[in-house]
Amino acid sequence: MTAPPARRRVTAPLLPMILALVAAAVLLAAAGCGAGSDSGDRGRLDVVAAESFLADIAQNVAGDRFTVRTLIPPGADPHAFEPAPKDLGEVAAADLVIVNGGGLEGPLLDTLTNVGGSATIVDASAGLKTRTPQPGEPPLGAGQIDPHFWLDPVAVQTYVANIRDAFVKADPSGAAAYAVNAAAYSAKLKQLDAWIKAQVAQIPAQDRTLVMNHASHGYFADRYGFQIVGTVLPGVGTADTPTARQLGDLTQAIRRSGAKAIFVEIDENPQLAEQIAAETGVRVVTDLLDHSLTAAGGVAPTYIAMMKYDTQRIVEAFR
């Protein structure tokens, strides 16, 4: 019966060892939080934008003073993005973090706010007037607003102004450059607006009905005279699933309105849309791009290119 005393002697030094390991881990974590990445070669400011289209817009304001980085990679859904630790490290090291706001980032916004470091959060859509859903569109949840402002180029001019102001505040020495860049880009946005109006004019007014996968195109519809007949997912986010009745109502709405197509974005699951389309005999367009840009060589490497591509796909569906 000599085993028990021997065991006790072995476990005793183990406990302090475990405590030491835990303490070391805590210290490492704290050190890691404080360490910043070198921003030497990034120019005057270290800026991260949440979405890729935001990054492009911000880059146009920044000009060649610095490079804006993107948090959410192309193709990922900003409504449901989960950052990895390295991403958060970059965010913590930044001077400015530009988000779309309006609830688009969901719980990600809390994560970004809590990440510590010295970053200031810039809400690109601050000051914009929100819309209420029209009849036929899914209702908003309590306290929810439609965050898809960026699909209206006129609203993006407010984004540009907000971003310019944030840049100037953070880097006053560049105030003149930012102002010039912002004005130039706003002019391009006005041209984009005119271009889209011309494209949409090809569709007779009474035919301008849209069926989207989720309620993403509200502001676009308001600006260019479309009516949103219904959506497959019943909300402004991508997490809600429809009930049988909702899908039945959508089917009836499509038949009544004579809509020609259901529009699904490229990284969304088209399964439900395809069943409704088969039911009603309409097309499914599955390659819209409106929540993110493509990579540099793709069809939509900039915000303006993305909007043009999107518009073309929509207009084509009506031919």
């Binding site: 049988a244 009745r245 899908l247 699951n269 069943q275």
Partner: protein, 283 residues
């Protein structure tokens, strides 16, 4: 009255939803009799979640997603058998460990494919309202295969479940039969997942069989009754979801559960009321 019955099913996607949940309901309920009697309920649920890494790997390799899911389910099932062999770890514990590990592995793999994360989980956890005709054929073929296997091997599966010692002495290889059952379970789970989602599959594997158990004393009638209850729950659940405007899969699960509760209370001989009456008579 007739209009009230037929209205939901004038829509084709509702017709397919009905067919899919009927098929899945019947197959899961019949196989579920073995799941319930052999205490494999946790295993069924674990397999449903454990396919995630298989789907991710298949996607990364450009291989067939269903095949990847099936391989993952079988690997996890084999792993559970391995860990719990010879009583080193209880089977319950082995399932808990592998379930969590597989799920976590799947999440890690999917997070390396950042762009299409949500797409993969949608592939996996289907929606009964989005069943395509192709899905329906696949589900139907699977159902025929599983039910035929159970029918052909009925007495062997019965023997291996009831008395593995005798099965062994008669040369009926209970280990092999348990593996067959795991394969059937993995197949059923994987194909049903795509159609009706994980919540519905796990429930249909357990609840109708558990209800049938309370109402009959023989395995053959238990299976038949479970199939009927599974089918009836599917149909009723779909109607309820349409008229009350709620999620379809969840409505089916709650209908099956309601049936169970009724049986639990009122079953002749084994329900709560019957037991109380018997105790009073004995006193």
């Amino acid at each position: 009255m007739i209009h009230w019955l037929t209205e939901p099913f004038t829509l084709q996607f509702m017709q397919r939803a009905l067919a899919a949940s009927l098929i899945v309901g019947v197959v899961c309920s019949v196989l579920g009799c073995f799941v319930v009697l052999r205490a494999m309920a946790f295993l069924g649920d674990a397999l449903a979640h454990a396919v995630l890494p298989g789907v991710a790997i298949a996607y990364l390799l450009g291989a067939n997603i269903l095949a990847g899911a099936l391989v993952a389910a079988l690997v996890v099932a084999a792993g559970i058998g391995l860990f719990s062999r010879r009583g080193a770890v209880k089977e319950d514990t082995a399932i808990g460990i592998l379930f969590a590990a597989a799920l976590a592995l799947g999440v890690v793999l999917i997070s390396t494919v950042r762009s299409y994360a949500t797409d993969l989980t949608h592939i996996l956890f289907g929606n009964v309202l989005g069943v395509s005709p192709g899905d329906l054929w696949l589900t139907g073929a699977l159902a025929v295969g599983v039910l035929a296997t159970i029918l052909l091997l009925y007495k062997e599966l019965l023997l291996a479940s009831f008395d593995p010692v005798l099965a062994h002495t008669l040369g009926r290889r209970p280990e092999l039969l348990r593996f067959v059952m795991l394969v059937l379970l993995a197949l059923t789970v994987v194909v049903s997942l795509q159609t009706v989602g994980v919540g519905l599959v796990a429930a249909m594997l357990v609840t109708p069989a558990a209800t049938a158990y309370l109402l009959t004393r023989r395995l053959s009638s238990m299976m038949a009754l479970a199939a009927v209850i599974g089918a009836a729950s599917s149909v009723t659940g779909l109607y309820v979801s349409y008229y009350l405007n709620v999620a379809s899969g969840a409505a089916v699960v709650l209908t099956a559960t309601a049936a169970f509760l009724v049986a639990f209370v009122a079953a002749p001989g084994r329900g709560v009321l019957a037991r109380r009456a018997a105790m009073r008579r004995a006193a």
